[in-house]
């Protein structure tokens, strides 16, 4: 029974990945639909993100008395990545609910809808990331070759977001209050994770709790640290890798058990 459902879940995920052209098209369509007939298009997001980073950077840079050369790139990379992570999770929650009309009509693997959300947000991230080199230019900080480490980091991050979205989308299809809860949790996570504040400002004890025990910090760090020219700690790689492995096992079991029920819940 369990074996069967695991095979079914794997088959669904494999077919979904094989239909990448469908995922690509739906994701593009989402982005284009949002900004059709607007002259600047998705770059509106970039502009508002840029303005936000600028404002927060000025205010908190003063409050924390941090040097701009260090604080501004840190804030920019953190905010851009956080917005990617949080929208992926939040929209991941509603990815199955939003695709109801397709799910009830066409036998398309359901994981396609999860991938669509991730792909859509990756496209938006690609627009937002433009800000980062501009910030580096503004504070005259060079970008080293070690920044390339953020590519495998990003792949690992996406792998983690995929299983989180898969589980959440399933639970949210069944329990419709969950998206609201997730939204609040994400809000809290934003303040607990060093995005707006530098980790070096933390007093010793608090650091262990807010950094080492915070999985979001590690997920963020595997992409952000290389961009800032820092080394990713082995702990961060291990936590992120372990999360991906463990999370995917759980996700496949849950998905296999409840996949058949999803259409009934919508």
């Amino acid at each position: 029974m369990l074996n069967n459902s695991i095979t079914a879940a794997m088959a669904d995920i494999a077919t979904a990945v094989k239909r990448y052209s469908l995922v690509g098209m739906l994701g593009w369509q989402d982005v284009r639909q949002r900004y059709r007939r607007s002259a600047v298009g998705p770059f509106w997001l970039t502009i508002s993100m840029g303005v936000m980073i600028g404002t927060i950077g000025l205010v908190f840079g003063q409050i924390f008395n941090s040097p701009m050369k260090e604080f501004l790139p840190f804030l920019a990379a953190g905010m851009i990545l956080w917005s990617f992570i949080s929208t992926c999770v939040l929209e991941g929650c509603s990815s199955l609910i939003a695709a109801e009309s397709i799910i009830k009509q066409l036998p398309i693997p359901l994981f396609v809808h999860i991938l669509r959300t991730i792909w859509r947000n990756t496209l938006i991230l690609a627009h937002n990331i433009v800000i980062f080199p501009l910030v580096l230019l503004a504070v005259q900080k060079p970008l080293g070759l070690e920044a390339l480490w953020s590519i495998p980091g990003f792949a690992l991050l996406v792998l983690n977001l995929a299983w989180i979205s898969l589980i959440l989308s399933l639970l949210c299809a069944r329990y419709r209050d969950l998206p609201q809860i997730i939204a609040s949790v994400l809000q809290i996570a934003f303040y607990l994770t060093p995005i707006m504040w530098l980790p070096s400002l933390l007093p010793g004890r608090a650091g262990t709790y807010l950094l080492d025990l915070n999985p979001i910090y590690h997920l963020l760090q595997i992409v952000r640290a290389p961009l800032l020219g820092q080394d990713v700690s082995t702990v961060s790689w291990c936590v992120a890798g372990g999360m991906a492995l463990f999370g995917w096992c759980i996700a496949i079991i849950i998905y296999g058990l409840y996949k058949r029920r999803i259409a009934y819940w919508l």
Binding site: Q33, R174, A263
Partner: protein, 247 residues
């Protein structure tokens, strides 16, 4: 070789009303020892299909008759693989295409040409497949220069023509339809009819829900009459239509 086997397949819809669906209620239920949930978790269940047993093989052209709410659409969804039976088994081997709503996935802001690709990919065609058939689809739809205009500028007739032209390019083994597709004005209707026949010819199994006696008599070689989610009659078109329509 396409084939469909149903064995005591049932479809039960759990109805979660707004409060039963919330996590709060779930938690309170657990907290109070599940007393509220006396009758099988306290859930309301609608049985849409009950104990369907039948098999369809190559060459079957099945018409589904039944009053509103008899379970025709649910059965079509079960056949297309959207729903899995909640009890019993439904095994479907063969590539299925469902043409229940041919406008699904059409984006009014995109051009006709873009929509051909979107609709095609959604139906399971590859990009190169579509590129190959693109000219033929455009020609068939008779949209001319409008093909590069956003679909929102189309009249509803043009919109349907486009959806029809793309949707009928697929050649599945099992075809699921809700009523016969008929679009356009007099002239176009003729072409559409011929194209539909061609599509039906090319498929091994056709299942179509209908309320039309003529359609069933012309297209089908087997008719299943559903009533209250059960099969009332499963036989040749003449017998069933006589019993169903009463003359």
């Amino acid at each position: 070789m396409a084939c469909i086997e149903f064995n005591n397949a049932c479809v039960d819809f759990p109805i979660y009303n707004a409060s039963a669906r919330s996590l709060k209620k779930r938690l309170i239920q657990v907290a109070t020892g599940g007393k509220i949930s006396s009758n099988e978790q306290g859930r309301v269940i609608v049985r849409a299909l009950e104990d369907l047993t039948f098999s369809l093989n190559d060459g079957d052209r099945v018409g589904l008759l039944g009053h509103n709410g008899a379970g025709k659409s649910t059965l079509l969804r079960l056949l297309s693989g959207v729903y899995a039976p909640s009890a019993g088994t439904a095994s479907i081997s063969g590539e299925v295409a469902s043409l229940i709503d041919i406008s699904l996935g059409i984006d009014p802001e995109a051009s006709g040409r873009e929509n051909i690709f979107m609709r095609g990919i959604l139906l399971g065609m590859t990009k190169s497949d579509i590129a190959e058939k693109l000219e033929e689809i455009i020609e068939f739809s008779e949209l001319g220069d409008f093909i590069d205009m956003p679909v929102r500028t189309y009249s509803s007739g043009m919109h349907l023509r486009l959806a029809f032209a793309v949707s009928t390019t697929i050649r599945p083994e099992i075809l699921i339809m809700d009523e016969w597709l008929s679009v356009g004005d007099e002239g176009f209707k003729h072409k559409a009819e011929a194209r539909m026949n061609e599509l039906v010819e090319a498929t091994s199994i056709l299942v179509i829900a209908s309320h039309s006696r003529d359609l069933v008599l012309h297209t089908c070689n087997r008719v299943i009459w559903l009533e209250h989610g059960k099969i009332k009659m499963d036989s040749d078109p003449e017998t069933v239509t006589r019993a169903y329509f009463g003359h």
